[in-house]
Symmetry: C2
C-alpha cells in the first residue's frame, strides 16, 4: 500500500500554514524597490525604508497605495547598494512583514532588503571553507539574567584542535543586538572569504549584546539607565571566552571594535583598558569628544598597535568624525582614518570590517 | 570635559527606536493569558492562540476588544502548560507582534507564549555546564542554495578536544525550520540538564530544515512538490557532519528522530536505512500507515536498537498512533510506545526528547 508520507491531518495543517500571498520585495536594476503587502482591508499602509530617499534625522514613512488587486504597493527611489531596514505602519501601528526575512534592528525584529553592490562582494558567500557562528548561553551575575553570546569560529578552529586563536570583540549599533553582525553584517562570511584568500589571520569573533543593565540600574542625568556593558565585557565575557575556547592569551591577541553606538563603546573601552586590548576599531562611531579618553598620546601610541577609524562621507557622523580626527592629530595620537563614499548603514560596516580585520594580529 | 558616551545624534536615533508601548503578554496564575496590542486606529484585531481554547482542526481567531486606553485586549481561557504559538490578524491581515519574541513556526516568524509547568522542568536553564548551538552554513548541490544547519555540541565537546561523540539527527514539524528545536524546543537546554545529571550520554544533535526542494522539483498527485529531504540528509548533511566534527563513526552511533511531520520523516528514513541509523524516535508523528515501511519485522528488530514512539493522549494524532502501535504489535515489531497527557504542541516534544535521549548510545 502506497501510503502518503504524512497523514492527511498533518498536511491539512501544513497546507493552511503555507498559504500566503505575500511576495518578496522586488529590487529593480536601478536600485528602486517595489514592496507589496497583501492587506486589502487596511485603511492605510505606510512604509519606512532607509536609503537616499530618506535620512536618519528627517525621516517619515512613505504612503503605500492600493492597486487594482487590493495589494498595497510602494516603489522607492533608487536605494544605495547594500542592506536597508524597513518597517510597516498600518493605521499608525508599527509592524514587520513576517513573511519576509527579519533582522534584529530598530530595537525589534525588522525587515531588511539587500540591494546588489557591483563594487563590493566581500560579504557574499563563496565556495570556500566556512566557519560557523555559535550561540553560547550563559548566566550573567551582573544583569542577573541568561544571555547569549554569538561566537564566530573560523574553519581552522574545528580542523586543528590544537591551534589557538586571537579574538576580536565586535559590537553592534543602537537598537541592534548580538545577532546583528552575523545576520545583517555577514561577519562570518566576510571572515571566511578574507581567510580563504590569505588576507586575514584566522580569528575568533565575539559578539555580545551591548546593553547590560543591572536589576537596580539607576538613570543618569538624561534619564537613561546606566549601561554596565564595559563591566560585563571585562568581568564576564572575556573570562568566559578565554576559559571556554582555545584562544591566545594576552593583550596582543585581543582587539575591540564596534559600529555606531558600538564604535563609541569600543573607543571608551579600548582607550580605557590598554592592558586588555591592542587593536581598536571605530566604525562610524567616532562621534564623541575624545578629550577625556586620551590623557596621554604617547601612552596611546605605545600601547595600541592599531587605532582605526572608518566613516562614510555621507554618514551623518562624518563631520563629527573629521573633528575627532583633528583632535587626534592635534594631540599626536597615531591612528588610521579611512573615509569612503557611504552612509550610516551596514554596507559601510561590512566594508570597515573587511578592511580592519586584515590589519589585526600581525606580528 | 565630561562628554557624553555617545553623541546626541546617535542617541536621538536610539531613543526613537526604543519607544514602544507594547507589553509582554501577562500570564495569570491559572494559565489564562492577557494579550495587549497598542494599535488604537485599527478597525478590528483578532488573535489566534493555541491551547485548550482551540484545536488544530476547528480553530478560529478570537476577537480582541479595545479598552478605555485604546489598547486592544484579549484574555484567553487557561492555556495548557508549555509553549504556544500565537499570531495577530488586523482587518484580515496576518502578522506578528514584533515587540515580543518570535519563533519560526506556522511557516513564518510567529509569536510564542510560555505557560509555566509545575510538572516538567527539563527545559529550564540551570547553573550547569552549557553546550552551544552552532549555525553552520553550507551550499547544497541538491537544492542549489545556501542552507544552514544548527548543530548542538555538548559542553564536553569543547572541553576535551580528543573525544568523539555520537549524533542524533532531530527534525522539526510542519511549518517550522532548523531553528525550532533549539529555540522553542529548548533542545540544547534539555541536553545540558540531562548530561549534567548523568542521565544521558553527551551527544551532538544535528537539526536541519526538513524541506529540501531541487530547483526542478515536480509536484506529486496531490500538487505538492517532491521533498528531497531524505536524499539531502543522507548525501549531504551526514557526510558534512562526519567530515567536520569529531563524531563516532558507524550506525550504532547514529539516531534519527523528529516531531509531527519530522516524526513521519524519521519513520520513513529510519526504517529505510538500517545501515545508517540504529535508533529511531517518532514524536507525535506515528500517523501514517506503516505497512509499506515494515517489510520484515525480524529485520527491524535485529537492525534497530530502539524504536520509540511518543504521543500525548489529547493529541489529534493519538488515535492514529494507537493504530500504528497495533500494526507494530501484529507484525511483531519491537518498539516502545509512550503516552502521556498532552497535546500536539512543544511541551509534548520537550518531554519526548527528555525521555528519548537518555536511551541513546548505551552499549
Amino acid at each position: 500500500m502506497n501510503a502518503p508520507l504524512i497523514c492527511s491531518l498533518l498536511f491539512l495543517l501544513a497546507a493552511n500554514l503555507t498559504i500566503t500571498t505575500a511576495v518578496p520585495p522586488k529590487v529593480h536594476s536601478d536600485g528602486r524597490v517595489t514592496f507589496r503587502i497583501d492587506a486589502p482591508n487596511a485603511e492605510n499602509l505606510q512604509i519606512d525604508v532607509k536609503g537616499r530617499t530618506s535620512n536618519a534625522n528627517d525621516r517619515k514613512p512613505f504612503d503605500m497605495k492600493r492597486d487594482e488587486s487590493g495589494q498595497w504597493v510602494f516603489t522607492s527611489e533608487p536605494l544605495d547598494p547594500g542592506f536597508h531596514y524597513y518597517l510597516l505602519f498600518m493605521d499608525g501601528y508599527k509592524f514587520a512583514d513576517n513573511t519576509n526575512p527579519l533582522y534584529f534592528g530598530w530595537a525589534r525584529p525588522t525587515n531588511g532588503i539587500e540591494i546588489p553592490d557591483s563594487s563590493l562582494d566581500c560579504y557574499l558567500p563563496r565556495d570556500v571553507p566556512r566557519g560557523e557562528i555559535r550561540i553560547v548561553p550563559y548566566y550573567s551575575s551582573i544583569t542577573q539574567s541568561w544571555r547569549e553570546i554569538r561566537v564566530y569560529t573560523p574553519p581552522q578552529y574545528e580542523k586543528d584542535p590544537r591551534k589557538r586563536f586571537p579574538v576580536l570583540y565586535l559590537q553592534h549599533g543602537s537598537g541592534e543586538n548580538e545577532t546583528s553582525w552575523g545576520n545583517q553584517g555577514r561577519a562570518g562570511t566576510i571572515l571566511d572569504n578574507l581567510i580563504s584568500e590569505g588576507k586575514c589571520n584566522p580569528m575568533i569573533i565575539v559578539m555580545e549584546e551591548g546593553y547590560a543593565y543591572t536589576p537596580d540600574a539607576i538613570s543618569d542625568d538624561s534619564g537613561r539607565r546606566v549601561n554596565s556593558f564595559e563591566k560585563l565585557l571585562l568581568e564576564e565575557t572575556i573570562p568566559l571566552i578565554e576559559d571556554r575556547y582555545r584562544v591566545l592569551a594576552g593583550k596582543e591577541h585581543r582587539a575591540i571594535a564596534g559600529l555606531s553606538m558600538g564604535g563609541g563603546q569600543a573607543l571608551r573601552i579600548g582607550l580605557g583598558n590598554f592592558d586588555t586590548f591592542s587593536y581598536l576599531g571605530c566604525f562610524s562611531g567616532a562621534s564623541r569628544d575624545i578629550e577625556d579618553l586620551v590623557k596621554d598620546a604617547k601612552q596611546v601610541n605605545r600601547k595600541l598597535k592599531l587605532f582605526w577609524i572608518g566613516c562614510g562621507t555621507e554618514d551623518f557622523v562624518y563631520e563629527r568624525s573629521l573633528a575627532v580626527r583633528s583632535e587626534l592629530q592635534n594631540k599626536g595620537v597615531d591612528h588610521e582614518f579611512y573615509s569612503h563614499p557611504g552612509t550610516h548603514e551596514w554596507q559601510s560596516w561590512r566594508l570597515h570590517l573587511s578592511l580592519f580585520a586584515p590589519k589585526l594580529f600581525n606580528p
